[in-house]
Symmetry: C2
Subunit: 297 residues, 2 copies
């Protein structure tokens, strides 16, 4: 079998076009575009590239760009002040704090300063709780993008056995929650899993977010399985993922490439979340008297 | 093989004795006992029994009893008012809203009115988010009790493959999070799982919270596995769980009975959470200037 390659760039392009349409409709209705605030602390080159790409994509989708760049030696209170300002700014629909932040800052605590209704990365404690409870909320971008990729290839989720390799707060754990919400049977494997190969070979769908180059080889994959590679590594042969692409493509039924697979979907999901946040806030403002304790979203 | 029966009543007794010791130490130091507020709406007989048992166990452990019983036709605002009063009452360390509430009330929204630092059931959105992020917080009682049972029998969790059957907000999903935190490989199966038998037979440890009597039979269980039965059903032969006890006891390595297994542990975990909540609040009051955005717990 030779795997069908899922073209993340094409799926992301279509998703961004839909988001641009929603952003235009929002501006037509409310007279102001949805806005995305990106907050970058320090000058890590990779983070600078990521933030630049997100800002460019937002602008292309008709989302207003609000960027703040703070010095690497900024105090926690400086950053808290910036986030508070953006939280109070009604032009800002979503706030993204680029991670990682410099070591002297407490990333998870700073993320929690983002108001939940502007949490377009879906990483605050409240957003993760809403996801765990199956309540409405903004969902983390990379896992959302993976779901969209699987849907684009018509890979059925309900009843399928999905193995997620990796248990990070950004990908593995929210990925499992989203898949459960789609009625998949979900296994979470990780660095402490015994006999990883036996576990992953049970998967109808294998989502790999382990952060280890070429961890998943042909013998980890059940013939015909759909394999989604969330990893990205700079190697001597260029960018590569957590999956040994060439050999796995001979076994899997579907496979995402690196680059051009999950990566573009993460940005697409961020843009979609930003417009969703704008829409939800506008709807909430229009019906404040129907607010419940779950009015946050 | 004949399974070793894990005696939940005995483990719970030991846990409650430890909690009573902590409650006494708390009272000696702070001059006031930890307090548990139970809130019951309506007169469902089963709920009345559960609440009575919790109050009695709390009193026996030296925890002060604050009980509120509301009429079945209470308005949401009545209940919100009671929870707000208890939230402001410094004698109340923990608040438990007995579920389910009558149909005209929104249970999940009402649970979220409980201040996170008094959420001794661990069911608020913020508590579930803290659990998902691996941050300190109060954990749901039944899953905590299951972990304590496994620890009591020295069943190793790190690297073990645990299959959780059931994906409820109260048990299955937080159970998976706690197990991941203990380095288990975790599979969540549920009513939509295809070939449940094949999935559960992979388990070194099988936690069953499906709410279906005798769902798990001998052929669902790998010889020697540890089987934890969270179900409880009233049958013509008395109380029974989700596991067909007699036949599974011939296959499993460890097995919890119903009654006398997980049930007593849930109350023990509630009492432990109540004293923990009191201790954490006292510590936070003593060091208010060290507060971070995660000061809630």
């Amino acid at each position: 079998m030779t795997a069908a390659i899922i073209d993340g760039a094409a799926v992301a392009r279509a998703s961004r076009a839909r988001t641009a349409g929603r952003a235009a409709a929002f501006r037509a209705r409310h007279g102001v575009a949805p806005g995305l605030a990106t907050v970058l602390v320090g000058d890590d080159p990779a983070s600078e590239v990521y933030v630049r790409n997100k800002r460019r994509a937002a602008t292309e989708a008709g989302i207003a760009d609000f960027h703040r760049h703070l010095d690497a030696r900024s105090a926690p209170d400086d950053l808290a002040g910036v986030i508070a300002d953006l939280g109070a700014d009604h032009r800002v629909s979503g706030i993204l704090l680029q991670l990682p932040v410099p070591q002297h800052l407490d990333g998870p605590a700073l993320v929690d300063l983002i108001p939940p209704d502007k949490d377009v990365d879906g990483l605050t404690t409240l957003s993760q709780g809403l996801l765990a409870r199956g309540l409405p909320g903004l969902r983390p971008c990379t896992p959302s993008g993976v779901i969209e990729l699987l849907d684009s290839a018509d890979v059925g989720l309900a009843g399928a056995h999905v193995v997620v390799v990796g248990r990070s707060e950004l990908v593995g754990k929210p990925m499992a929650q989203l898949l459960l919400g789609r009625d998949a049977t979900v296994t979470i494997a990780h660095s402490r899993t015994r006999n990883l190969e036996a576990v992953t070979r049970e998967a109808d769908i294998l989502v790999v977010a382990a952060g280890r180059p070429a961890l998943i080889t042909a013998r980890h994959v059940k013939p015909g399985a759909a394999v989604i590679d969330v990893g990205i590594h700079r190697t001597s042969h260029g960018l590569a993922g957590d999956v040994a692409f060439d050999e796995v493509s001979a076994v899997a039924g579907y496979l995402t490439p690196v680059p051009g697979g999950v990566g573009p979907m993460t940005i697409a999901a961020l843009l979609s979340n930003t417009v969703s946040a704008a829409e939800i806030r506008a709807a909430a403002t229009e019906s404040t008297d129907r607010r419940s304790p779950h009015h946050v979203l």
